[in-house]
Amino acid sequence: MPVDQSLVGREFPPTQPYRVSAEKVREFSVATDPGRQAVPATFPIVMAFEAMNAFLADVGVELHRIVHGEQRFTYERPIAVGDELTATLAVASLRQIGGNDIIGTRSEIRDAGGELVCTTTATLVHRGGQEGSR
């Protein structure tokens, strides 16, 4: 079932505040860049992914039908342990190509003071059609 075109421009509520802990950063570093102390550049995906999950649940799309098309990050400053961050997702674009929905999203990650820390855009490909038919 195609995703509703009226979603374009819609902004979803911010995620619950996410406190960046040393333990979580260490866990993410061990998984992606063991031995490095700094917060990995892709760490904001943790909040962005939570925002995306809430969005997908809201529009009734199952995660396993999503293929990641593109991701971009622009950082205003590095993320630090102790930051309290929220992600606010908006639907930027929506196209249908060959039975798939191509969903463009833009998420702003802000700190407890409301200052922008990182903007991340994602292209999500929603694979339509019958299970097992592709």
């Binding site: 892709t42 396993h64 293929v67 990641h68 593109e70 097992g132």
Partner: protein, 130 residues
């Protein structure tokens, strides 16, 4: 770093266990990254790496080359899946880089990320503070 510098290619083995660890660390539990049954049901050849895991490996190479310089931009398309076999060896992902520009205190690095000779990321690029 100077324009035209060719950075030393970094190669990382990706195993199923790495995907499970990344799923836990990132919160991305999409079953196409751990279940062959679900992956093949949506038309994939088998379990594939999270695109964001491959991107994280690209960022790891950048951090290695720049000694952990502050990243101001990072982006790519996910053009081909990294299919990860269910064995102990996994599959290698190679990250190559060339310095494209050095200006205004920023270094732009064009990346090339391949798996078995196929580019898996489209136009991957990082910008770091010099």
């Amino acid at each position: 770093m100077q324009v035209g510098d060719v950075l030393e290619t970094q190669t990382y083995a990706v195993r199923r266990a790495d995907l499970v660890r990344y799923a836990g660390a990132s919160g991305d539990f999409n079953p196409i990254h751990w279940s062959d049954r679900v992956a093949t049901s949506v038309g994939l050849p088998g379990v594939i790496a999270h695109g964001m895991y491959t991107m994280a490996l690209a960022a790891r190479a950048v951090a290695t080359w720049t000694d952990g310089a502050e990243v101001v931009e990072l982006g790519c398309k996910f053009t081909n899946p990294v299919v990860v076999p269910d064995d102990d060896t996994g599959i290698d992902v190679a990250v190559a880089g060339i310095v494209k520009s050095v200006e205004d205190g920023r270094v732009t690095i064009a990346l090339e990320v391949t798996c078995e000779g196929t580019k898996v990321l489209g136009a991957p690029k990082a910008v770091v503070r010099a």
